[in-house]
Symmetry: none
Subunit: 121 residues, 2 copies
DNA sequence: GTTTTTCCGGAACAGAACGTTCTGGATGGA
DNA sequence: TCCATCCAGAACGTTCTGTTCCGGAAAAAC
């Protein structure tokens, strides 16, 4: 997890402290913390949460999930879907959800792909 | 990390899918995912991020660092739609968008006005 | 009712990953 | 010079994970 190590170093830099100081803040062995910051080890989930809490940031940011990605064609499609779905009636929405999940969520390990006819449409 | 396992199960329940289905959505071995949901194993950071991304939630929430807001039935349907749509291929997604917009966006009355076609579909 | 499919979890094993310790180099201040 | 601080390589024992095999329960299909 390269981004995690990068974010750890960034965070300490923004706080104006050394990695060793950050380690002590988080009550972690310095060498251990350094391994995280150098992308050589990964913490367990509880330690990850602890680091985020003490350094006053979010795990999403530390894991690189918080960046707003540029507007791709696909993102725009998902956007349109949301907008359209929002204006549906509950019943219409249920229908769309059912159909979409049928496409998206793999059910069988079975090889044969028989598709039962969509009823009530 | 007890809270993580709990949140995993909650998330699948809210999406109206089984843990096995959630595992397939996340492209993880079912047994492996079950170990996470049963608080017997913990994922590495990349897998954690992947789960949060695909199940359309945040790692902060999964790790118990953020409180979750109460959701309406309708919000859960929109949630399910998002999760399912995200795992579609581009072509499948375009189809769903087209169908949903057809349901949602009323055609103009017969005033002769032209409706611009849906681009890129 | 019978069969098939799906879901779930225990047990176990090889291999991967981790925490820790020891070590040494680099830098800066007293 | 001496000392404190920061940093990272290597190694070792231990812990933990991914995976596989297995069986039972429940639901669905026949």
């Amino acid at each position: 997890m390269e981004i995690f190590a990068k974010r750890l170093k960034e965070r300490a830099a923004k706080l104006g402290i050394s990695n060793a100081q950050a380690a002590r803040l988080c009550e972690l062995d310095e060498r251990r913390y350094a391994n995280y910051a150098n992308d050589q080890r990964e913490p367990d989930l509880m330690t990850l949460a602890k680091i985020a809490r003490i350094l006053n940031t979010s795990t999403d940011h530390l894991l690189g999930l918080a960046d707003h990605q540029p507007q791709t064609e696909r993102a725009r499609l998902l956007d349109r879907l949301n907008v359209a779905a929002t204006s549906l009636t509950d019943e219409e929405l249920r229908t769309v959800v059912t159909q979409t999940e049928a496409l998206a969520i793999p059910r069988p390990k079975k090889t044969g792909k028989k598709m039962p006819p969509i009823s009530g449409v």
